[in-house]
């Protein structure tokens, strides 16, 4: 007999759904609180759907108040997009060089680059800080962008994909007189494009969520990225939790949209690349 609905499976689904609420309720609480007036924030039992609606004022204060998220959003978008573009370019060039060009030093250079992956960024913060102070990259978006633009993880990930490009294509292109530059653009890159897209999404998310680097390398208020802005905003507004939650929702919302659209890419990328970096 054909089973249309499996009761055991259905029951487990309900149980797991209840459990998943443990994971989602902080988010639901955050969103509903961001819509409330301050006096209702701690009303118990929790009003999941606000009785006194104050969403417009809360979000207006966050986005266009004295500490305007419209500015910090723009900063974050600028930094994340440029970091992603530069990082993708640098990593695909290097990945192609390490996998498809045969030169004696290549193996050694790749080993050196890969070895630096073991160095935690936190262990080199101090010298990076001193270096940035002395070459004038401190407290600038350019400096922040460069910090995340040379990803060993990205190079490693993309190299795996370039290795899957058959050498016959490259050999025959060479016989036809194409140089590596042309082979890279016209043959290899189109084949690995999906992998580059996956890496781009991950790099964007990581840069957007980066807190430590902006904290150390930015000083001026109007250069702040969204993560610093949330922290500063919540410090300034203290116990105004409805406003703070509107700030938190604002910080997450773009990423959620990107994640839901690029879900498969993100999850595949996590499995190929593994760790955050």
């Amino acid at each position: 007999m054909l089973k249309i609905f499996d009761w055991k499976k259905g029951l487990l689904t309900v149980l797991l759904f209840a459990f998943s609420m443990l994971f989602l309720s902080p988010f639901l609480w955050m969103v509903s609180t961001s819509f409330k007036i301050e006096a209702d924030v701690f009303v118990f039992p929790i009003e999941w759907i606000p009785k006194n609606w104050n969403a417009w004022n809360n979000y207006k204060e966050v986005w266009f108040g004295p500490y305007p998220f419209s500015l910090y959003y723009w900063n974050s978008i600028k930094v994340s997009v440029l970091t992603t573009l530069i990082s993708c370019a640098v990593s695909t060039f290097a990945a192609y060089g390490f996998s498809k060009i045969r030169f004696a030093a290549g193996k050694w250079l790749f080993f050196i680059v890969l070895a630096t992956y073991m160095i935690p960024q936190q262990a080199i913060l101090v010298p990076q800080f001193i270096l940035y102070r002395s070459i004038g990259l401190f407290d600038s978006h350019l400096g922040l962008i460069l910090l995340n633009s040379f990803s060993v993880l990205g190079t490693f990930m993309l190299r795996q994909f370039f290795m899957g490009v058959h050498d016959e294509y490259i050999e025959s292109a060479k016989i036809d007189g194409a140089g590596h530059w042309r082979i890279f653009w016209q043959i290899a890159l189109p084949i690995v494009r999906p992998a580059v897209a996956t890496y781009a999404i991950l790099r964007f998310i990581w840069t957007w969520n980066d807190y430590l680097n902006p904290l150390i390398f930015l000083r001026t208020d109007h250069l702040y990225t969204i993560q610093l802005a949330i922290q500063k905003f919540t410090t300034i507004n203290g116990e105004f939790y409805s406003l703070n939650m509107a700030a938190a929702v604002s910080g997450i919302i773009l990423l959620l949209v990107i994640f839901i659209i690029g879900q498969k890419s993100v999850i595949d990328g996590i499995n190929v690349g593994g760790v955050k970096g």
Binding site: W29, F44, A105, V126, Y211, Q227, G251
Partner: protein, 311 residues
């Protein structure tokens, strides 16, 4: 004998052409990897060498390079006797306890989601959401959820009849476990996704064969699922250990190492020493300890991997 010479010349010219081709290839190789190499050299290699040097010195960089004094192993001797450092390191070790907890939960969730429930896509997104969201935003939310008197969690506990619920991040005894709880909540999604990918590589006929032999669910789990996921487990264990050594964001936003240093960890102490107290040399010594820990775990991984993991 006469015909020998022309062949030789042809050979050498072929060799020469091959040589120039190889030179061209080498040139192209260097050009393609040059941007990456430059970045890694300037932003990673140079700084790590500087960390190694600064760790043996005392320096207030405001005083300029002349202010740098060589102190040998003094910084490290001071570290061993520094109770704040010992506390921070000890807290990092306690943090390791979070790893088995989230790995087990992630494994169970992965199996359930992969085989036993409807709506796979929904559950994947639900459990993955904390991982994708920024630590700053979720920390701000948890700060309010953990509010000692008015917070929803304690209101709920009071409603359940618990008279004196913990003060969570405000209580020295509960602060570190609270942070670990949030850390577990964040990490489960990532681990679950890796486990689901691992589960999909296990051939179905293994389970069918086991069923024919009369194996129950527990035996199948113990004898097939767990061993065949050892590769994923090992990967998650190693990356997990390394990540706990780097914990910073949650602490910086929620507790700043307090109350009374109960949540101070290596990176927090490093940050405080370098950027609040401006002790560059001493901070570099802490950085070297951090680096050694990560390096140690990575090397351990290389050694163990071959013996331990079933391919």
């Amino acid at each position: 004998m006469e015909s020998h010479t022309p062949i030789m010349t042809r050979k050498t010219s072929l060799k020469r052409r091959k040589g120039s081709l190889q030179r061209k290839e080498t040139m192209a190789g260097w050009l393609f990897v040059a941007p990456m190499l430059t970045g890694v050299s300037v932003l990673t290699l140079l700084p790590i060498v500087a960390t190694l040097i600064l760790g043996f010195s005392e320096w207030n960089f405001v005083a300029g390079i002349e202010g740098l004094t060589w102190v040998g192993f003094n910084n490290f001797q001071r570290l061993i006797q520094d109770p704040s450092f010992v506390t921070a390191l000890f807290n990092n070790l306690i943090f390791l306890l979070a790893i088995p907890i989230y790995m087990v939960i992630a494994l169970v969730l992965a199996i359930l989601i992969d085989r036993y429930v409807y709506g796979k896509a929904f559950f994947k997104v639900a459990f993955f959401m904390p991982y994708i969201s920024s630590v700053v935003a979720v920390a701000v939310v948890w700060q309010v959820l953990f509010h000692p008197s008015a917070g929803p969690i304690n209101q709920f506990l009071l409603a359940l009849g618990i008279q004196n619920p913990p003060k969570w991040i405000a209580d020295p005894a509960f602060a570190l476990p609270s942070i670990m709880l949030i850390y577990i909540w964040i990490s489960i999604g990532f681990n679950m996704v890796v486990y689901i990918a691992g589960l999909q590589t296990i051939p179905k006929d293994l389970y069918e064969a086991a069923e024919i032999d009369g194996a129950n669910a527990w035996v199948k789990f113990r004898q097939i699922t767990v061993p065949l996921l050892s590769r994923a487990s090992f990967f998650l264990l190693i990356t997990g250990i390394i990540s706990t050594f780097k914990v910073f964001d949650l602490i910086a936003i929620l507790t700043q190492g307090g109350p009374i240093q109960s949540t101070s960890v290596l990176v927090w102490y490093l940050y405080e020493t370098a950027f609040v107290n401006l002790e560059i040399g001493y901070a570099s010594a802490i950085a070297m300890i951090l680096f050694s820990c990560v390096l140690g775990v990575t090397l351990l991984q290389w050694v163990i991997q071959k013996k331990w993991v079933i391919d």
